[in-house]
């Protein structure tokens, strides 16, 4: 098991490394540079070159990358060109907010969609099944930002029951999380349903009935227990989507998370901040995926066998 973790960590490291190189390269391929952006057209070329030297933008790319990476490992992500604040300070307060927001979205997505999917499979083709699948597909068809706007209009503006801008009380999270869940729960429901339908046909489910277990015991202990393995895999695959969805939702609802920061920094070509954001998101994704792999290993004894290197 431990050699497996080491292997996954090494893989994760290379992934983070390649993404950081890509991000670095991509920003320099794009036209314009931050000095032009900040200084405006009135400033003289000499002054701009001086600024470029000051921030190190004149050095060869790989040198810039290495010095940036060396500092990043120590936690120094550089200084935001626009705000003149250390990137780390900008990020420190925002990462937990994004984590909390996406975590809550994921949690409610699972708590709502997995039971619904299970029941849809159980009562396949019933009115309940059609209703749930229909409603969830309706919300998937609507773009997430539009759902968010509709929610704001209904609950925030017309009914005035929920706040929709900012991040002061837990109530402020209700609408953003609802928008996030509405955008993703259809796929979770469909995934759970098809996976449960798959498992229901397995012979060991017939065995479970044959030995005298009740329907609910079979459904939870044998069907759901096996379906949950693949559901975990698929949910872990959807995490990057969840995070990218959060970027937009944070922006719409004025949540001071990484999403808002990233969107603004891209517009302002604030390289250091964009790099840091992408890097943090990559690291989060890699960490989530490793955690999911470990969870799957715990859930499926056939996998944990191979994790132990095939020994019995």
């Amino acid at each position: 098991m431990s050699s497996y973790i080491v292997k996954r960590l090494i893989q994760g490291f290379f992934l983070v490394f390649s993404v950081s190189v890509l991000v670095f390269a991509m920003l320099y391929i794009m036209p314009g540079d931050p000095i032009d952006q900040v200084m405006g057209w009135k400033v003289s070329q000499e002054k701009k070159d001086e600024m470029r030297r000051f921030y190190g933008f004149d050095r060869p790319l790989h040198e810039q990358y290495l010095s940036w990476a060396r500092k990043a490992i120590k936690g120094d992500m550089g200084v935001s060109v626009r705000t003149k604040l250390p990137v780390l300070d900008l990020m420190k307060a925002r990462i937990p907010i994004t984590l909390k927001f996406t975590g809550l979205t994921l949690l409610f997505d699972i708590l709502i969609a997995v039971p619904l999917g299970l029941l849809c499979a159980y009562w396949k083709d019933s009115l309940f099944d059609r209703l749930v699948v229909g409603v969830s597909l309706f919300f998937t068809a609507i773009p997430q930002f539009w759902t968010a706007v509709l929610l704001i209009l209904l609950f925030g503006v017309t009914l005035k029951v929920l706040p929709f801008n900012g991040y002061d009380t837990p109530l402020h999270l209700v609408l953003p999380v609802a928008a996030g869940v509405l955008g993703s729960f259809a796929s979770t429901i469909r995934m759970t349903k098809s996976e449960v339908l798959e498992v229901i046909r397995e012979k060991y489910v017939t065995t479970a009935y044959a030995k005298g277990l009740s329907k609910s015991a079979v459904l939870v202990r044998h069907v759901l227990r096996n379906a949950i393995i693949l559901i975990t895999v698929l949910i872990s695959l959807s995490i990057p989507w969840l995070i990218s969805g959060a970027v937009i939702l944070e922006h719409i609802f004025g949540i001071p998370g990484m999403g808002g920061l990233m969107v603004n920094s891209i517009i302002m070509q604030d390289f250091a901040v964009v790099q840091a954001c992408v890097l943090v998101i990559t690291v989060l994704t890699v960490v989530f995926n490793i955690l999911c792999d470990l969870l799957i290993g715990l859930l499926d004894p056939r996998i944990s066998l191979s994790l132990r290197g095939g020994e019995r």
Binding site: E202, K203, Y204, T206, T207, A208, Y209, A210, K211, G212, L213, S214, K215, R221, H222, R225, N226, I229, L299, D300, P301, R302, L305, R312
Partner: protein, 322 residues
């Protein structure tokens, strides 16, 4: 059909149809047979003849809403067809156990084998220590090597024979009176098959259970069964004691099957086969279902159901011309 009062299980005119596109497919038609206490009754037939459907219908395990079951399934004199789903749950495992063809697919991959046996025993409201003592004891009876260790093995860590032993242990854990064995050795090799058969024979003595053996293997029937029903396309062609069927087959299908068996004494180049294929039948068509392949088919066979003729208390067959 003999053994009237002593019968543990009696199927009385059992028919099962499956809904298919544009109608009903008749999988089992008007099957009547009885299994006595302590008896091993075999149902033989080729693939798709409805023998597994019978097994699943008795346990009411073929419930995906696309089937129609009629006729009586009497167990200890009570019609299981009248039972509610809840009552059937109480019958399964407790009164009738069932083992399946492929013992790997039939065990849940995420639970230890012992737990899956224990799960059945827990249903009787026993305490943890007692349950696990019984599980290990059952493993011992199944002649599992190192039972105390094997209860902690996952199914994928066990061989095919061991998995089938786990299945048998699971299904006998609550001392059912009838064990339905649906092709129990088909997926196993011959030496393991012999061991499983020995265990089943032993169980009949130890647990005093009847066994309804579903198989396509006549060798198995000859070796272990007391009585046998030969099925063709959902109907019982002929049934009788093993001796009667093997020595004096009357139905043309049984006769042809016997000729198709590989025997050591005859040194013929090729085995005899039966021409044609099994027809796909809807429930409304009358006539003998073996008509299109039968060497002695006559005019009546095509559109009249063959009468059931009795030769003895146990031996009967359904044919117009014999």
């Amino acid at each position: 059909m003999g053994l009237d009062s002593g019968e543990l299980l009696k199927l009385d005119g059992l028919s099962v149809e499956y809904r298919v596109r544009g109608g009903w497919l008749s999988a089992v038609k008007n099957v009547t047979l009885g299994v006595g206490s302590g008896e091993i009754f075999a149902v033989v037939g080729e693939s798709g003849c409805g023998k597994s459907t019978i097994a699943h219908s008795i346990m009411r395990l073929n419930t995906d809403g696309n089937e129609r079951v009629s006729g009586g399934i009497y167990f200890e004199g009570e019609n299981l067809g009248d039972y509610s789903d809840r009552q059937m749950t109480a019958v399964r495992g407790k009164k009738i156990g069932m083992i399946f063809q492929n013992p790997l697919d039939s065990l849940n991959p995420v639970y230890r084998s012992g737990y899956q046996v224990a799960e059945a025993i827990y249903l009787d409201g026993k305490g943890r220590d007692e349950v696990w003592r019984e599980v290990i004891e059952l493993y011992r009876k199944m002649k599992m090597p190192d039972p105390a260790k094997r209860v902690r093995s996952f199914p994928h860590e066990l061989s095919g024979g061991m998995r089938q032993r786990v299945m048998i242990a699971m299904m006998l854990a609550r001392n059912p009176k009838l064990l339905i064995a649906d092709e129990p050795t088909t997926a196993l090799d011959v030496t393991i098959e012999a061991q499983i058969l020995e265990i089943m024979n032993q169980l009949r003595a130890d647990f005093d259970a009847s066994i309804l053996l579903i198989t396509h293997n006549f060798g198995l029937v000859a070796e272990i069964a007391d009585r046998v029903a030969v099925m063709y396309a959902g109907e019982v062609a002929e049934q009788g004691s093993v001796f009667e069927i093997f020595q004096r087959p009357r139905h043309p299908y049984t006769e042809l099957l016997m000729k198709a068996l590989p025997r050591r004494s005859k040194r013929e180049g090729r085995l005899q086969t039966i021409d044609g294929t099994v027809p796909r039948l809807t429930s409304t068509e009358p006539g003998c279902r073996f008509y299109n392949r039968c060497p002695c088919a006559g005019g009546r066979c095509r559109n009249q159901d063959p009468p059931v003729r009795r030769l003895s208390d146990t031996h009967s067959y359904a044919c117009h011309n014999r």
